[in-house]
Symmetry: C2
Subunit: 91 residues, 2 copies
DNA sequence: TAAAGTAGTTACCTTTTAGTAACTTCATAA
DNA sequence: TTATGAAGTTACTAAAAGGTAACTACTTTA
């Protein structure tokens, strides 16, 4: 399951929760991806300086603008997949 | 410039022409990508058994279905880029 | 006779990306 | 006093992806 999908579906999430739901990548890569997404303004990182720390991630307005285009691609892939041809989204 | 973009814009193209227009990847990787795209039904490969051989590539109907969603993503990235934030399409 | 052309293929090397496991800080709980 | 917790960081290793350069076949051109 993809990071942007999960954040779009669930709203703001703690790192640990994201980590449990995102599969296919290690926590280290998840952190790297989230930092990249933050850098390009697609994701907010909210840091609460507690101990242990509480960090949550949430889509920015810009990130939300991706929902529709990405949903359209997913829809297309689903229609193709139901025709039993491997979806482009594998690539 | 991306393979799907070029094929969408120009219609069927010979390998050599594609090779000149696609930048950022080697001919070897271009061939690999085209073969993958052919495998998943996004691109037709037309082989003419002349010497030297003439091979052209063209988007299938399915490949054309990608135009709109990808155009929408590009449009979004352009709007973001004009706001001077690095576009997500870098990733 | 040699060179040119097309569209690759292949072996080897380089670069990039990812995974693993140990580690970090410090308040709180046991 | 020790363990726990979150959210990473880091060094090292492994895997994946990409680039390079030599090569292929055979007709046509010079």
């Amino acid at each position: 399951m993809y990071i942007l999908w999960i954040l779009d579906t669930n709203g703001a999430m703690r790192f640990g929760e994201l980590r449990r739901q995102v599969d296919g990548i290690s926590p280290k890569v998840l952190t790297q991806r989230l930092r990249m997404l933050e850098e390009i303004g697609i994701v907010y990182r909210h840091y609460k300086p507690t101990v242990p720390p509480q960090v949550s991630y949430e889509l920015t307005e810009r990130g939300k603008e991706l929902s529709k285009p990405l949903y359209n691609l997913c829809d297309l892939a689903s229609r193709w997949y139901s025709d039993e041809i491997p979806p482009a989204s594998q690539y």
